[in-house]
Amino acid sequence: MGKRTIQMVVLGFLALAFTATAAFAGTIKIGLMCPLTGSWASEGQDMEKIVKLLAENINDKGGLLGEEVEIVVEDDGGNPRTAALAAQRLSTRDIVAVIGTYGSSVTEATQNIYDEFDIIQLANGSTAIRLTQKGLDKFFRTCPRDDEQGKVAVKTIDNMGFDRVAILHDNTTYAKGLADEAKKLLSKQGTANVVFFDALTPGERDYSAILTKMKAAKPDAVFFTGYYPEAGMLLRQKKQMNWNVPFIGGDATNNPDLVKIAGKDAAEDFYFLSPPVPQDLQTKQAEDFLADYREQYGSAPDSVWAVLSGDCFLAVTTAIKETGSTDPDVLAEYLHSDLKDMPGLTGKISFDDKGDRVGDLYRLYRVNSQGEFVLQSD
């Protein structure tokens, strides 16, 4: 190619680039760190779809402060190592804030990185208590916290009249935290005896040894605080052993893949705690959004954690709009003190001074014989 031709091509590209961005003055970049691969790929992929849909909606209406909202996505792989790398990459991409992520141990690995770069982080699925006990003033979460979940778990165990409870976790930040919380409350209130307390290894397939050992302790119920892949396998193998003790799950067991893995037979009569699942959300915002989502992607979103990432997005874009600024300190101040009862997809959103979401969200769900999640009223 001659020199002249190259110059023409370069000029051509530049011209195209200018016309393409002519609509918006610039872009506001918001990061999304989610598990697109790994054990929780279902969650991550839903998160990406929801946040991108919401961003599209804003851009169609003229953008944010006249600028286009761009979502910069990085995969955290559902594990702390990959997430730390993802956080490093995102922090150098000029993002105003980052939404993410799902697993508490994964979020924890990235908190300090974002804090060092002064980037606001809004987590959507990390409920471990200690994440907001570190004095990080730019960390927020739209999901509830495990002390609330522990209380609801113990209340459920009490209501259902169980005396001997086995608690099983998987040694991750979230699961162990919730298990410890439940054990503490159970011994303090004397509601039931904890006859078994141990952890399994996530990613393993064969839980027969564990189930056999638990069965020997003769519990009335088992409280499993780990994630949905393992919960599905546990339920399936428990059924194969013909062991019929009721299992109660923590909020990380809330995902339709649970029923896919366990099979409808084994998943029937499994109870779990969770913020309301997408079909049970009652705000107008939620209904409009779900209709929108269905139109774009063909079916409703599977997981409430992904919907909570939508709420993270709404919170940060509201903050940007109301303060007219993308300065992290200004936004953090707004989110702590001035964002009151913002109508979000999962209800009213406000953050307290530690960054936790205000309000009680946990409900009890039961899986019916069709594999559907049915909300139980108190």
Binding site: E204, S208, D257, I261
Partner: protein, 301 residues
């Protein structure tokens, strides 16, 4: 006492799977002195191919349960064997005369390639084998409820292992394999086609790994692209435990590892189950590095 036997059966069933995969490691090491790190991923590929064949072709509907599963196993073994041979030709053969380290790095690279290939082709989410293929009966032996499938899996594993052992000990090709494992140069001088032997090893090993994948998929239901990692690691430990390069060693190592894990979970702590298994490995390497049944290594005289 009942608990002991229950856990023993749990351990044996898991151990059977470890043993099948360990055989692949041990055979390749015996002949090539190479740890085929991509072997765990061949196991994963077997599981996924089994799923595709099962759902796409509806084998069990057309042929009935027993014959259908047998046909599935044979087809998966064949396909994974092909992948194994291709792997050998592409990743290992060009490096046969190079530094050992180069071959190991190549193996790791192949492993990463396979994992990501599976992820890109099948998606990052879990896939689940169709439920209700296998009968759900439990057999009552000595007062223990053991799911029939576990017994079938263990039996199938043992049958395959015995078949392999007889093949290696009694047939001419088997003798050729053993000769190549002892000394490749001398075997060539005796007229053994070493290239063919290597190809055969890479047919049998991956085939066994693939069928183990199908068994795991059918029994546990859930498969994902990283499942090969943990199984591969445990099988590798099992192979070393029994003596790397030694076929009966791999079988015994696999079963033993399964039982040790189950017993460790039952009597010590579930959370420490894997730590106990790895601790056993360290112990064996310190006390008896050649493994329980000894390593097949040429003696330099």
């Amino acid at each position: 006492m009942e608990l002991f036997f229950q856990q023993l059966t749990n351990g044996l069933a898991v151990g059977g799977i470890y043993a099948l995969i360990a055989l692949g490691y041990t055979m390749v090491y015996g002949v090539l002195k190479l740890i085929n790190f991509a072997h765990g991923d061949l196991f994963t590929i077997g599981a996924y191919l089994g799923l595709t064949l099962l759902t796409a072709m509806g084998l069990t509907d057309k042929l009935g349960l027993g014959v259908g599963i047998l046909a599935l196993a044979v087809m998966v073994m064949g396909l994974v064997a092909v992948v194994g041979v291709v792997l050998e030709r592409v990743a290992y053969k060009p490096l046969r005369n190079a530094d050992r380290l180069a071959a190991v790095v190549s193996a790791l690279g192949a492993s990463i390639f396979f994992q990501n290939a599976v992820m890109l082709i099948y998606g990052a989410k879990f896939r689940v084998y169709p439920h209700n293929i296998l009968p759900k009966m439990a057999v009552n032996i000595l007062g223990l409820e053991i799911p029939l499938i576990r017994i079938i899996i263990l039996a199938a594993s043992i049958v395959l292992m015995i078949a392999l052992y007889l093949f290696v000990q009694k047939t001419k090709t088997g003798t050729a394999i053993r000769a190549s494992a002892i000394d490749q140069g001398a075997a060539k001088l005796m007229g053994v086609n070493v290239n063919r032997v290597i190809s055969i090893v890479f047919i049998i090993g991956p085939a066994l790994g693939g069928v183990a994948g199908v068994m795991v998929g059918m029994y546990y239901g859930q498969i994902n692209f990283t499942m090969g990692w943990m199984y591969g690691l445990k099988a590798f430990i099992a192979a070393i435990l029994g003596g790397i390069g030694n076929i009966p060693g791999a079988m015994i190592g696999g079963l033993l590892l399964g039982v040790i894990e189950a017993m460790g979970a039952a009597y010590i702590s579930i959370a420490w189950k894997d730590a106990i298994a790895f601790f056993v490995l360290i112990l064996i390497l310190i006390v008896r590095p050649t493994g329980l049944l000894g390593e097949r290594v040429a003696e330099k005289v």
